[in-house]
Amino acid sequence: MRWFVFVIAAILAVALDSGFSGVFTLRSAGFLTPSFAACLLAFVALLAPPVVVIWAAWFLGLLADLSPGLGEAGGGIQVIGPHALGYPISAWVILNFRTWMFRRRVVTIALLTFLCVLVAGLVQTIIGILRFWLPWAGGELVPFGAYEMMHEAGNAAYSALLAIPVGWILLQTIPLWRFDYGTSRRSG
């Protein structure tokens, strides 16, 4: 995989998440907002070599964690982990299943985007619980609870919908990425 293509795509995806995604926010439905970064992660996790996928997921997660949002507290403190851990874990899950999937299908990218956002939300909840209970962590900075999990499930479903057009666009750019994914199962 060409890393510079990925870095540019990651910057673009995070910029869209932190600047443009507000257009899609469903304010009357619990502020559900889709994620462009998760679409990119699902695409890369399907096609890139395994080690590259994990590092790419960590890099993308780091960018997402250091962006403005709910993980930001007073004093500009930001918690690194919800995405920097959640994305590699979801990438690892995708790597275990991708051999049985039609990799160049938009529907596959949409389903795996759902998985990425859900796992990142689950990791965020776990980190929230850890920070709440660990005596040295200094209390809650990341919200957690049943509502947050429901909210992340909604975000995941919404991101899967967004992944249909975004995934199609990404699939058209495959020649730029120079993926070395060996044998894969293809549709049609």
Binding site: S18, G19, S21, G22, W58, E72, G74, V79
Partner: protein
Amino acid sequence: MALTLVVAVLPTRWLGWTGDAADIVRIPIMPLAGMGSRVAGVMRPVNMQRGVAGTVEDMLHVEAQRDRLERLLLQEQLRVAEIEQKLRHIQGLPPQTRTEQPPLLLESEVTGRRPDHPVSGVELHSPAEAAGRVQVGDAVTWDGRWLVGRITRVSDIRLSALPITHPDVGPMMGALLSEGLDVDVVSAPTVRLRQNGNGQLLGEIDRRTEAGIGDRIVLADRAWPASLQAFHVGRVTSVQDIDEAPLRRRLVVEPDVHLYELPWVVIVGRDGTNGGKALP
């Protein structure tokens, strides 16, 4: 991965460096995110028609002007009341009122926001003229009428702000103004507002105090700069009984304008008067 997990559970006081890391990481992202934010602002403009009976553009303009003038009037009334009180106590105006300077006003573009939660923080472009003049604790306002947030971090590259509904902003005092033409801000009941973490503010008032849904809350808190007094905080969306305190009622206040929906804001810095201390 193990290192990332360790970082995720580090004590809060050891996470100060993450702000600097974010500054560096956001350098290539901010221009693109700023463009995205501008496009988003055009595609989904701030809904200014909430609570307006008509839909004519002129009417909105006139209403905006009226609100601004009314805010200035309320601000002056609060100021007069404060000065009267001082006169009664110290037999003269305090010296700092004679050295009053106008507040710093800076327009700043919102370059980053993740509006998947009503209390999400935003990232603001740091204008060149902001260097050394914008401080932590300065207010973030919109349209000369609404108080929407507070600056929480200042760096050479960007500014971070949290909405007034974020718990880290802390409690604030507001004056409760009922809907109507005769508004007397000096005798209006004051209410201490605290954030509930879900994008709303909660306050408690005496049961005998008249309060209803739609009543306005304006800032009346001397911990904030004098130039920010009487800025709109929000409207009462619910009045609830409190089982534990039958003589009091709980007000649920929701801002009319939210920080996450704005493409740009105006930062109001400190003026020369007393008050306006930095965030605790």
